[in-house]
Symmetry: C2
Subunit: 274 residues, 2 copies
């Protein structure tokens, strides 16, 4: 495997950019190829079969870009599709569920963990499954919050309506007295302040994307696959390439909100061909 | 053309069922084939090119069902794709834009019309284009309300958050003193009461779907294509068939909210093959 090859990151759309951002911070010298399936976003409300079909195409596209490692930055794909697809490739892959689940187990003191995400992620019970595999005595409470993604995408990150909806959704989490809450969707870090205000300061929020970026660093280090340029200053912006399955304009607009800076190098790809 | 052949209705998902419901009321004896592209919904935030690609497949699927007439119940498809696709078929087709636009022109007294819809519909300027073609002196104010679709789909049809968001969106419509507002998205009739409360009783709301059902009746009558059974009592439920591009479970759940009754006969189809 070529150490200078890029890391491939994919997501159903723009949400995975919160994971990409953490990877840029921790591994600034790595070359990155990001694929966002904006032409078929969101995955969260869809069935397992459709998510497997779409994710298979996303991975095939990245594999063709000769990536050395794949980060599945989509919780819905990680929850229902990644394990099946992994088997068909020699490229190592990591999803966002395992790292988030493990971090929650480490953080909880009262043994009561909450998980919020899309319908697909919550319906799969993937977080609870991994948490119970580590410690069967922990209590896990899972809740789908389907309106959070459109609210974030419409820039409703600091509006009264968003606080109202968050209080609606999260009241049951307050009732069951969790002390740790997993943000099981890559859009949610953008409304972390809202979720934090509703849950109160005694509840630790786990950002699955952040944990995944650390896991990627660990695996690449152990597999001796870090880019040799890693010790040097960050490479030029050109080593970060973005591919999307619809016209780049909307992705470009949203990307700056998710990444905190403008992006270039956005190429459109017909994902239905993969 | 076989008069007993079904009418084909399609939409990006469940929204078109508000149009189907009106057609059931006005033309109870017609056989109906409904296709909902729930595996790729929503179309509204996507680009013109992607919407044309998806709509072409939707129409190809219905054409293969030997329909006598096609109702494009999706505003986004009607706005950006239908005119292009029509040319390739001998089947007559009607979209939701023309009937809605014409009804608004008839209703307005002060010559100031508002149009709300998805990003694709509003970005296309399709309503304004038709309204100005009829009367260039009318003033048209258009506004995208992207959160209305997810709010309706999550059942947030009577919550404080929905009223807050509606007030946010519609304030500019109040400022410009329209007297007629076109609901340019088939989801919006489900929050008509919210929109009506925000706009006040002096503003007439136009339901494009309802106008389209009447237009379908008019065209079928003029073309002598009404099902000869029309004068008789409604046919059995079996003559209404539903096809969807993801597992039927979620469609089935939402359909009863949109139609007011349970649906059967839901078949899954792989739309990517068309």
């Amino acid at each position: 495997m070529n150490k200078e090859a890029p890391i491939g990151i994919f997501d159903s759309g723009v949400g995975g950019l919160t994971v990409a951002r953490k990877i840029f911070e921790i591994l600034p010298s790595e070359n990155i190829v990001y694929f966002g399936d904006v032409g078929r976003t969101p995955y969260g409300p869809r069935s397992k079969e459709i998510i497997i079909q779409f994710t298979t195409q996303d991975v095939a596209f990245l594999a063709e870009r000769d990536v050395k490692f794949i980060v599945c930055a989509c919780n819905s794909s990680s929850a229902v599709a990644l394990d099946e697809i992994k088997k068909d490739y020699h490229i190592e892959m990591v999803g966002v569920i395992d790292p988030g689940a493990r971090a929650a187990v480490e953080k909880t003191k009262n043994g009561r963990i909450g998980v919020i995400g899309t319908n697909a992620t919550i319906g799969s019970n993937a977080y609870a499954h991994i948490i119970h595999h580590i410690d069967p005595d922990l209590k896990v409470f899972s809740l789908a919050c389907p309106l959070f993604v459109p609210l974030v995408e419409e820039g409703y990150v600091d509006k009264d309506a968003t606080y109202l909806i968050a209080r609606d959704y999260l009241q049951t989490m307050l009732d069951v007295e969790i002390d740790t809450l997993v943000l099981g969707c890559t859009h949610y870090p953008l409304i972390k302040h809202v979720i934090s205000e509703v849950m109160g300061e005694d509840v630790t929020l786990i950002d699955s994307g952040e944990e995944t970026a650390r896991e990627a660093q660990r695996i690449l280090t152990e597999s001796d696959l870090l880019n040799p340029a890693s010790a040097q200053p960050p490479p030029p912006e050109g080593s970060r390439k973005y591919y999307v399955s619809d016209v780049p304009a909307k992705f470009s607009r949203m990307a700056s909100r998710f990444l905190g800076h403008e992006v270039e190098n956005i190429t459109r790809v017909d994902i239905s061909k993969y």
